[in-house]
């Protein structure tokens, strides 16, 4: 069972940032959907993977509740963080917030040896105002001109993408489900 985590503070945003990911995952896995404020240890232990979805530009309440994600430090299954989800992964593992660099829309990103078989150059859909650094024990798999676009843990199955693969490059979610 895959857990898909909703970060949205507003229900109306969940339809936009969370539901499309859930629909993609449902094609490959049983899904349990949960809001990040309601995550229980039992859910985490019973899952075989977790996706942390993104949220709206003006919604950054998750940054005030990073303690809700400390389970990431010991969770031994696969994790994919999307946009805000990648920010959380970085910050939990010791990365830092970088100067705000607004990115909105379709942009070109450059990838190398990435686990999702993206080409060296791909267009991605981005919607964020906060950037994060690559934390210790992670490496950078992709960048745009403005910021890091993909990170992955060196030993564990934890990845983060700054862009929204549910909009463009849906194969990332499909491949993650099959890992």
């Amino acid at each position: 069972m895959m857990i898909v985590i909703d970060l949205c503070n507003e229900e109306l945003h969940s339809a936009e940032f969370f539901a499309p990911v859930v629909e993609l995952v449902k094609k490959h896995n049983d899904v349990k959907i949960v809001h990040y404020l309601d995550i229980e240890q039992e859910d985490i232990y019973n899952s075989n993977g977790i996706i942390i979805c993104g949220t709206a530009l003006k919604d950054d309440s998750y940054l005030e509740n990073l303690d809700k994600f400390e389970w990431l430090l010991y969770y031994d299954k696969k994790v994919l963080g999307i946009c805000a989800g990648m920010q959380i992964i970085s910050l939990i593992f010791g990365g830092s917030k970088l100067d705000n660099e607004l990115e909105i829309g379709k942009t070109e990103a450059f990838f190398r040896n990435n686990p999702f078989n993206l080409k060296e150059s791909e267009y991605v859909y981005v919607l964020h105002k906060l950037n994060v650094s690559c934390p210790p024990s992670f490496k950078v798999y992709g960048e745009s001109k403005r910021c890091i676009q993909m990170i992955g843990h060196e030993k564990r199955k934890i990845w983060g993408v700054m862009f929204h693969p549910e909009v463009m490059n849906q194969q990332i979610i499909e491949k993650f489900c099959g890992m």
Binding site: E10, E11, P20, E23, A56, G105
Partner: protein
């Protein structure tokens, strides 16, 4: 939250409005752009003058703004419209009916960011057939007012979206790979009744306009009838 809806009078912005209302938000006003460019990248054009009748039926204020419809100028016009809504109605966010247009969605996201407003796209990436079915479940009355897609001829104009419409449009999709909800610009629609309407609208007079690459169901007169 107090919100304004970017409203075209068609099914998508109406359904987005419906979703926002059902989520408990307060709808302060509808915002419409009247583009002089019939091929506008951002704004739907048929029957825009009758949006006022829809707003009246829903008892929601409408702000209409005219734009020449030049590709980037119309974005500045849209920004001014949203800014006006923020100042006059003290809104905190905008709702759109965007489904899959990265072009539209990213530009509106940017405007909202610049004006420090929330941006909601509750239909984003939704399955297009599901959208049509949701309209039926909610007892919408929606007619087709413009067709511009392969396999769609003037007999589709004025058709009500119902079960037989969905069956027929799926056949067209199989043959011509169109989007069944018209997200690719294959068709435009006009809402005559929705759960938020206090009375239904009915067409009294209409003209068909045939252009080189599209046909328009040009509403001339509407009347109100009790629900």
């Amino acid at each position: 939250m107090e919100l304004a809806i970017l409203f075209s009078g068609g099914k998508d912005s109406s359904l987005a409005l419906n979703r926002a209302y059902d989520s408990g938000h307060t709808i302060k006003c509808l915002l419409s752009m009247k583009s002089k460019n019939p091929d506008s990248w951002m704004f739907h054009t048929p029957n825009i003058d009758f949006i006022e009748k829809q707003a009246e039926s829903m008892h929601i204020s409408l702000i209409m703004h005219e734009t020449e419809g030049n590709k980037e100028d119309e974005l500045e016009d849209l920004k001014q419209l949203i800014k006006r809504a923020k100042e006059e109605y003290n809104i905190h966010g905008i709702v759109t009916g965007a489904i899959h247009s990265v072009y539209q969605a990213s530009r509106i996201q940017r405007i909202c960011h610049e004006l420090r407003l929330f941006c909601f796209n509750p239909l984003w990436l939704a399955d297009q057939e599901s959208i049509l079915k949701e309209l039926l479940e909610k007892n919408y009355k929606v007619i087709i007012t413009k067709i511009a897609g392969m396999g769609l001829d003037r007999t589709w104009l004025g058709r009500v979206i119902d079960d037989s419409f969905i069956t027929d449009i799926k056949k067209i999709k199989q043959k011509y790979k169109i989007n069944v909800a018209g997200e690719g610009g294959e068709m435009e629609s006009f809402v005559l009744n929705s759960p938020l309407f206090n009375y239904t609208l009915e067409i009294e007079d209409v003209a068909i306009i045939e252009n080189q690459d599209n046909c328009i169901y040009d509403i001339k007169k509407l009347k109100r009838t009790e629900k």
